[in-house]
Amino acid sequence: MSQSQAAVTPDPEVDPDTAAPAVTTRADRVKRRLTSPWATMAALVIAVLWTIPTFGLLLSSFRPADQIASTGWWTFFSNPELTLDNYTEVLFSGSDTSAQLGEYFVNSLMIAIPGSIIPLVLASLAAYAFAWVKFRGSSTLFVIVFALQIVPLQMALIPLLQLFVTFVHPFQRALHEAVPFISDQQFPPVWIAHAIFGLPLAIFLLHNFISQIPGEVIEAARVDGAGHGQIFFRIILPLAMPAIASFGIFQFLWVWNDLLVALVFSSGTPDTAPITQRLAELAGSRGENWARLTAGAFVSLIVPLIVFFGLQRYFVRGLLAGSTKG
């Protein structure tokens, strides 16, 4: 839930990396003089401070377990020794006491992918209706949807859980009975919860983008006899792809990193619990087993970090447009 407020979307023109002019102008020099050697020093210190915690964890996760427990990771530089044992242990070890993160990793994927696709589909449909289907009360309804962001998800947890117990669990049991190798504990409650909590913001952001698509394009299509369905699939979806991609990334990261929704709506067993839940549990019960925790934490970080470094353009763009432009 961290950044959902800000994950505001896309304005194709705002790209921080290309925004800087390539040629050195006079104005450029003026600006440059703001940065003194001291400022550079300070920036360097902040950058190092911000990186050290992650770096220490990464380095530790590759050190032998007894060394992690007895010496600080900085001693590595005088006594370098690396191993992959911690990772094999947390991911694949079959013993009951091990972390068995492999299974939870699969759960996280199984939660995060549908948990992002469902709200994206529903939100882009709704955003289109608000932007391009003319109906009375459209703006009032839109304001209501926007206002729903005010409701903290904590407000919805208890009643939603009651609803799921009454209406979703019987169907899960039926599925379990018909197909015995599908566990009694299933993902749909977590998917639905994530879809609901992601919807208001998704509708708002996608609407901002979709309503900026030039009206002439849509008018032209209508003159050619296209209905709303065709306009949506042939024109809106392709044009809004950058926005959908950036919100998709945010929703994916949000779902992947979530702990609260998982704690309330997943079973907590290896059947459905995501990796964050397992890690929180390990941190609580075996707070001192650093060999497992460091490797485990990095297993859970690897997907967000890949998404972050691989799709950074979309990520930053998604973050920016709304916060700096309305």
Binding site: R33, W50, G72, K134, P152, L157, L160, F197
Partner: protein, 516 residues
């Protein structure tokens, strides 16, 4: 993890997304009926024949496969075979029915079409309700719980009534039809609640409050239908908006209202007035929770915005700006749980006689101090948790503010320089005023995220040692101590605290829009 488990999970994903896809496809099928049909009876028979044949073929194949595999492989159980065959038969029936309807209704007027579709819907609803009544005696329907049967009765009959009434109204003049339908839907919503209350009289076990959900959903359908029925142009709105509207009503608006009411109830659901709030503002633990939350919401936004702004200014136009940004921004992608473990490791404690493994304690030892149990010594442990949040949020502040700084008009900076302003004055008097709205957005966004912070506290201390915050306490009370009333009251307080920030944020954004 066995292969079967993995297969089961993948299958859940396939079934779940498949069901979602089918529902969406059925919904979208209502859109865009092309006017130019090939003429004649044969033409209309052929229309859309191929996709239907393909679907039927797949379903037949599925049933055959189930029958063939039954007995051949251990995991194809009897229940599964039966389920697949039933699914295939039902699917084929639906496809054929839909095709027949489509074919029959093509020459009909819109009024007739709408009436027939509603009648068919009513027939299906009646069938479902009746089957649910006798589900107990049908072998493959044992999973239908009494609650589901009850729901079928309470919501099912009003829905049947609505469908019949609106079918009759289809032939009325437009004005009457529109308002009549709205009235019928709202009446049905009332009927759901009334039926539930009447049924509740004769039962030992209360039905619960979910009929209100059904009533809300029916009213939403009615209102949306009313809005969409104004002219032909606005009708498609129903298809686009209905799923999101229903989900938000049932999953967000109704629960929020319920939680508000729950806040005034006790352990067993009895009305207790303001007791939960009295508890919150008198108990020591609860007061500490409130105090901690306030400390969080003051320190985190201020410090992370300040550091982020300073950093953004320092690295602006410097060499390697991208790398600098990435380093500080990276914690944003990390989960709060991951960040908590990273910092738990930083704060790790070893006795004074041992080597320290946590960097912070190592530094303390280096300057000659005693190693500390950082996460257990109140009140400094709260500060230690706050640092984690600052570490995460600074990157966000930095990226947004950095983009804003790039938008500051260079002419103004130049003019200020010519006037003899030093770098600090230029920053103070030119840069800061022009990025003010961005600063406001950053501060408010981080404040809201901070108010809701849960994962960090849960993972690092679980709220022990006087570190709890509202969101964590809410979870503990509602889901661990069995005090849903207190949990709801805490959630309500959280709502009240978030409210002014969001309202302020919206106002600033609106002003900004108005200026542009």
């Amino acid at each position: 993890m066995t292969t079967m488990d993995l297969l089961g999970k993948l299958l859940q994903g396939v079934v779940g997304l498949g069901a979602f896809g089918v529902v969406m496809a059925l919904l979208l099928a209502f859109l865009d009926r092309p006017d130019d049909q090939p003429g004649g009876w044969r033409g209309s028979m052929k229309q859309g024949l191929r996709p239907r044949l393909i679907i039927i073929g797949v379903l037949v194949l599925l049933a055959l496969l189930a029958r063939l595999l039954y007995g051949a492989v251990p995991w194809m159980t009897q229940g599964m075979t039966n389920a697949l065959i039933i699914l295939a038969v039902a699917g084929i029936a639906v496809v054929v029915l839909q095709w027949l309807l489509d074919r029959l209704l093509r020459p009909a007027t819109p009024a007739v079409r709408s009436a027939v579709l509603r009648l068919v819907g009513a027939a299906i609803a009646v069938a479902i309700v009746l089957v649910a009544q006798v589900a107990e005696s049908i072998p493959s329907l044992e999973w239908v719980t009494p609650a589901l049967v009850l729901a079928g009765v309470i919501v099912g009959w009003p829905v049947v009534g609505v469908l019949l009434a609106t079918a009759a109204l289809a032939f009325a003049p437009h004005r009457i039809r529109r308002q009549g339908r709205l009235l019928v839907w709202l009446l049905a919503a009332v009927a759901v609640v009334v039926i539930a209350l009447v049924l509740e009289q004769g039962r030992e076990q209360p039905i619960g409050v979910w009929p209100w959900t059904g009533a809300l959903a029916l009213s939403v359908i009615g209102v949306l239908g009313y809005l969409a029925d104004r002219d032909d142009d606005s009708k498609p709105m129903l298809v686009f908006l209905m799923p999101a509207a229903l989900l938000l009503t049932v999953g967000l608006i109704y629960p929020a209202i319920r939680t508000t009411m729950l806040a005034f109830t006790g352990r067993a659901g009895e009305y207790v007035g303001m007791e939960n709030f009295v508890w919150m503002f008198t108990q020591r633990e609860a007061l500490i929770t409130l105090g901690n939350t306030i400390a969080w919401v003051i320190l985190v936004p201020l410090l992370s915005t300040a550091v982020g702004l300073a950093y953004a200014v320092f690295i602006d136009k410097s060499r390697g700006e991208r790398v600098y940004k990435m380093l500080v921004f990276m914690p944003m992608a990390i989960s709060f749980v991951g960040a908590s473990i990273i910092w738990n490791f930083m704060y790790a404690y070893r006795g004074p006689e041992q080597d320290q493994i946590g960097l912070i304690n190592q530094l303390i030892v280096l300057v000659g101090g005693e190693p500390q149990q950082i996460l257990q010594n109140s009140p400094w442990n709260t500060l230690a948790l706050i640092i984690v949040m600052i570490w995460i949020q600074t990157g966000f502040a930095m990226v947004v503010l950095s983009a804003a700084i790039k938008g500051v008009p260079t002419e103004q900076l130049e003019a200020a320089e010519i006037d003899g302003a030093n770098p600090w004055q230029r920053f103070r008097n030119v840069t800061v005023p022009s990025i003010r709205t961005s600063i406001v957005v950053v501060v408010t966004t981080i404040s809201i995220a901070t108010l809701k912070v849960f994962d960090i506290v849960r993972t690092m201390t679980a709220g022990n040692f006087d570190t709890s915050v509202i969101a964590n306490e809410m979870y503990t009370q509602a889901f661990r101590s069995g005090e849903p009333g207190r949990g709801a009251a805490l959630a309500l307080v959280l709502f009240v605290m978030v409210l002014p920030i969001v309202v302020y944020n919206i106002r600033v954004l609106n002003q900004q829009k108005a200026i542009r």
